[in-house]
Symmetry: C2
Subunit: 333 residues, 2 copies
């Protein structure tokens, strides 16, 4: 099959760019130095490709991602790097823990109680290292670890996510601030104990020492937001559209905001200015010439994670050859 | 079932607010004066409620919406108010046209050719009335109508969408500009002929004369973007979340940007300031007091259309009673 035959909008993954990204990250952070975050793609086929280059432990953001990864046979070591107190979802993960290793993040007495009550076996203590979101205060980590152990939970270590530092354009300033955040995390870890220290993401993957596993996800497909950091990863994912209207002032393709994560702003089109997105349209102005109805156009997402979550499947391509169809099978909660 | 038993994030539709919105619009634009746009909710159960109050003709944005509405027995008069040249989707709509009345928008020789070739029977001429998106120049409409008729297509009339005027806060200035846009549309219509003039939306529903059918969609559920216009419609839809972390500085609930349309900015929470959304989190600061882990929180979307498209189902509720589950069954393309 050829990409020209695909109905649009269609999510395309360029296999060569994907392989480049997989190899580049596996060289920088081999094996257990990376715990790929599946929230970036929500696709077990892509997770299997990450496992094939040596990363067999994964990070998840939702119970659905954990359960789907376990069901797909990718459950060697799954970390829910997020808090939940949902008793049914915790029980489902506890049950899946017979065939998979499932660890959940806790950051309070409530989340520890919910995990222990549901039969979860292993946790990490989530520590606030500067992002105002989840995570306990660093000086509470030891107490929470004791509490978790008193409830029969195995405390595997600590995690902390420096999301507020992920996309700083001044990489020198970023390094200094990330190193300070790591110091906070390692200080808490010393009190907590355990073998795991989990942190970081695509924007900071090269700052963390080898002793910390990095939870990067976006590196494997990339987006225009991370592209601003000039990382050694290639844009591997676009949303293919078809021009449905074209004139001297602008053109319109069928890739709208229901096919694109919009929280980081408008997507991009090479050699064109994007004017705005509507539900099912992107209006753009080519730098040179006039577009034609029927022409295909590649729209580059500003934020890859929510873009993936809007599509039922991605097409693996090389040039215009369609090699495979990968279901985005970890959507929902 | 009680809303406290629902897994979160959960899309809730308040049945009383919904009924208020249905009744208010049906009083203002009874029957055929409104052609409800299903892109706002993508839910055939909700469309059936719109049909029950007298609006039996519908507007769609995608072939998937058209085909799903026809399959649900709501195909009395479906308008694809959007251009497509996809031969398979056009053929599927032509085939569905044996049991449903399906009309598609055209705005160029290419779109007319694609529709005629696929066996589509009826079209409207889509006219540009100021929004730089699809639609032919007003002075091309007559020529395109002739071209469509020469290809055997029944030209039912004209449409034009004044999307650029939909959310003007100065309603007096809005009225003047919408009336000017309507004049352009009616001028084109005089040349085109046919019984239909289709236009407008939730922000302009009360400006159009009764002879124009209005394509409003958002009115039925509403969002914070349209709430700024002080329309007589109530907020009928929220995304219910659970607080998973809470402290003296902020709280976090499990309603992230994968559960919310973000193109109009952050959502809102009553009696709290929303700080930011992450993939699976909303960080917020209550105006008074401190939140508790486990507490439920209602997140009001900034843009309803893409929010609906992110959920597999909505729960119909009255207070905390769950009355029904409505699949969002028109997602995708």
């Amino acid at each position: 099959m050829n990409t020209h035959d695909l109905p649009t909008p269609a999510l395309l993954i360029d296999v060569d760019a994907l392989d480049h990204n997989l190899a580049t990250m596996a060289a920088a952070r081999p094996g257990a130095q990376l715990r790929p975050h599946v929230k970036a793609h929500k696709c077990t086929a892509l997770a299997a490709a990450q496992a094939a280059v040596g990363h067999t432990a994964f990070t998840c953001a939702t119970p659905r991602e954990v359960l789907g990864m376990a069901a797909a046979g990718l459950g060697a070591d799954l970390l829910l790097a997020n808090e939940t107190i949902d008793p049914r979802r915790l029980a489902a993960m506890a049950a899946a823990g017979d065939d998979a290793r499932i660890t959940v993040a806790v950051d309070s007495a409530d989340t520890i109680d919910a995990a222990a009550t549901a039969g979860i076996r292993e946790v990490v203590i989530d520590v606030d290292i500067g992002l105002p979101r989840c995570g306990c205060a660093p000086d509470e980590a030891a107490h929470l670890a004791d509490l978790a152990r008193s409830r029969g939970l195995n405390v595997r270590g600590t995690m902390g996510y420096e999301g507020h530092l992920m996309a700083l354009l001044d990489r020198h300033a970023q390094r200094l601030r990330v190193e300070a955040a790591i110091e906070v995390l390692l200080g808490a870890h010393e009190q907590v104990g355990g073998e795991l220290v989990s942190s970081g993401g695509t924007g900071t993957y090269d700052i963390h020492p080898a002793s910390i596993e990095v939870q990067a996800g976006s590196y494997v497909l990339m987006d225009t937001h991370y592209a601003r950091l000039h990382l050694p990863f290639r844009q591997a994912c676009v949303v293919l559209g078809t021009v449905i209207a074209a004139g001297p002032t602008h053109a319109v393709a069928d890739v709208g905001l229901k096919a694109l994560g919009m929280d980081h702003g408008n997507p991009s089109i090479d050699l064109a200015d994007v004017s705005f997105c509507s539900d099912e349209h992107i209006t753009f102005v080519p730098h040179v010439g006039v577009a034609s109805v029927g022409e295909r156009v590649e729209v580059i997402p500003a934020h890859i994670d929510p873009t993936m979550a809007m599509h039922a499947a991605a097409w693996l391509v090389r040039g215009t050859d369609v090699l495979d169809r990968w279901p985005i099978d970890l959507r929902g909660w």
